[in-house]
Symmetry: D3
Subunit: 188 residues, 6 copies
């Protein structure tokens, strides 16, 4: 025990079912401290012709894309300075806040903001945390360290960062960024 049974309409991919297996197992463990090996989870796929709501057949909603994957692809595009690609991951209501900035809505604003700060920056990832929020947004955190070069070409590395993303309808609607850049810069 605990035993979880999930009934869904037929039509999800093995990868999507694997995600359901992991998420539901973790959801149980969030409350019940069972050894993972004792949490069993079975997916029962119901063919559309065997499921009725209000006496009518229904079609399965396509699964959400993995929000972690969306974030990873977006961050990779940003590092590669493929702005068009990066923009394709954003929703129309996209808003982002970086240390010391007001809310920004366009990647161009971010680029402007970064210009007086560093030549380039890349990320080393320590981990991702992801979950469904109470509302429509999936939440993804990624954290790790930044490395790159300042405007004077001097290198930096090991600067801690954390990003928080909200993903709605498979698009990034919000990005909040914290890091130790100012802390590090102001160190004697």
């Amino acid at each position: 025990m605990p035993i979880v049974d999930l009934h869904i309409l037929e039509g999800y991919s093995p990868e999507e079912k694997q995600r359901l297996g992991r998420e539901l197992t973790n959801a149980v463990r969030f409350v019940v401290p069972a050894s993972p090996d004792l949490v069993t989870m079975t997916i029962h796929e119901i063919p559309a012709e065997n499921y009725y709501r209000g006496g009518l057949k229904r079609t399965p909603a396509p699964a959400r894309a993995d929000p972690v994957g969306i974030v990873q692809d977006y961050l990779a595009a940003m590092e590669a300075r493929e702005i068009e690609t990066a923009r394709s991951f954003l929703s129309d209501e996209f808003v982002m806040t970086f240390p010391g900035t007001a809310p920004m809505h366009h990647l161009e604003e971010l680029i402007e903001w970064s210009k007086p700060r560093y030549k380039f920056v890349t990320k080393t990832y320590a981990g991702f945390d992801a979950m469904q929020g109470q509302d429509d947004a999936a939440i993804v955190y990624c954290r790790g360290t930044l490395q790159g070069r300042y405007l004077d070409d001097s290198p930096f590395e090991g600067i801690r960062f954390v990003d928080r993303f909200e993903i709605i309808d498979d698009k990034i609607a919000r990005q909040d960024v914290w890091n130790d850049m100012a802390e590090v810069r102001t160190k004697p």
Copy 2:
């Protein structure tokens, strides 16, 4: 659809079952974008005398305390400078990292670190995000803004922060803190 059935041993409180209801519903929605109103979740409580593993009866593991509640109580104790109380929420392996610090293991180190920085600081919370990690730790993020007074008694407020906690066996094992203090301080 989707329909989730959770079978657990009898003995969990209404509040604990409410948490299971919320977590499992969100876990499904993390993958399947069903309207929340269409995600039904039923808990089937099995009396101990009706459940057998390997032909033997088992007893239910006590539920975990709500990790968000643990974090809230810990942060409240820190704000109130009730260090003994705050320490009671920490595991023996506790480690914390603040902007610009090396990993610290004792609250006294944190107090020393803060002395040259500010007189006091309190938090206004914008939100908590919590989930079970793949390993034993539950993860809690809290974010919001800091307000307080610098050493020269000048006030500050609206400084963004985010904390990440790992809770293992109902104790905080790790705290990572990011904020815009240095960014703000170094603004002209």
Copy 3:
């Protein structure tokens, strides 16, 4: 086989569950010609604190009154000429059609219509048929024979009739009546 499992929120009476047992068993047999003895039906009552839709608790809807009972009580009140009582079973949109009448909305119209036809009439019931319609109405048919006295005090009996009722929200919304009175009267 077939095996039916019905999950409902806790709170229905034994009589209401008996009705569910009978209706669901018959619904299966309407399509699958299994011997009744092989159709098993189990009701699983879920305590409110164990059921979540969209992560929220729900309360059970009170069961409908038995539509056959409503019709029987209404017809008994009509036979006893307790018009006020009979009227209490009717919805505001009540409409009834008797042989040769236009649709009528008030029991007084029916009484006027019957005055030139018979002194009184009572019913002997041969059977009731009842089911849920596709829309909101439950449908009840009752059939049998009429007996009574014509205006000239001559008796009649054994005149076939059938009534069809629509019951919505426990109120009779429609009554349609057919019988052989004219056929019998015009017999040489």
Copy 4:
């Protein structure tokens, strides 16, 4: 809620399962006034090699033909005066009663009865009601209006009728007919 799970042996057609979906949903709604959209019904088809009664495999009983379809085909054959076809829908114990007739067992009796009454008659359907009876018979009601020509070639139309059928083992075992023909004929 309510949630219905039906376990049947594999081998029923989509149309037969659709009928089960509709009938079981309505059976629940007959007692519990849930919005249709909240009544979910899942059919679990069990392969014959996975079901054992008394430790032995069983084979599924073929589904019943839709009783409404049987009645519709029978009535269409009668209107088209295809007596042989119509007769093929009747059981050996068939009995029918029309306004003013004694119970009749053969369609020829009906034809004789109608000869002095009208040249021909056709039906306009207002609706069908169908359900499983407590015993073996499925019950079908159809109602609507009659139109046609009297013996003197004068037309009639809009005469209300209702027919009640009992269907046993996919054959019509009983037909009871009520209508307003006499009422209409005797109107001044």
Copy 5:
């Protein structure tokens, strides 16, 4: 996995449910070599008012007495020479076969048979094996060694035996006994 769910009418004792837990777990393991710790078995007790077969309520059959217990009590009575008590465990059709005997129907026959063989004998049990047979009988084997005294008062011990019992309706209907007494006696 495997996961067993047993649905029974409410009314069985904890000891009876424990027996069901053990028997069903072993039944699975007889075919699927899962570690016992991975075979979970849940008993779902259905209140009588929630179970319908053919639309009618049913009452649970009282559980069988544990056949091993019946055999143990019978053998204990035999050792204690409480013949009346021993006889109370036997069905009217009781038949027993001992080494070299024809089928016997009465305990008195057994006593007669043993008289020229030994003064008394008691049993040391090495184990019991029990199962349900395909027909109505439960089967119990017990095996171990015999000790006692021959007619000449010389002792014997360690003589292997095995008994097979058939229990029908909580009564012993058949006993078959094998042992090495003759083998031992004839040893030089």
Copy 6:
């Protein structure tokens, strides 16, 4: 009732599922004296990609060979004096005890033991009883009568025997034999 649902990973053969159907039905009947016809048992096969333990996929354990079949094949090989074949059914820890012998580990010991006793012996089977033991061993009993020829070529027949086998990991680990040979030989 009772209704048994067994959930196993997909991949067992019809013959293996038939064995599960029989064993689980009998396991229920061992405790609840329901008519076999009222014990229904459904196997739910879960595709590997739909089952998660600890969030991870698992593979089904291959079914055990039918222990009765193993015993029958071993005994047939022994009767046919195909010692190599017979030995292939034995585990490395095999031990057997025959009337009057110490525990033996090799078939050759058995052959030596039998040489001064009979020329050959064959078995007529009256029945097999088989079950899973509490530990890893499946238990098989077979019983019936022996026939053959003594060393002096004189025939014997109808001598009762019973064998008990323990089968672990599809190999015979233990054989215990009882019979009436000595009893019969010493009869005057």
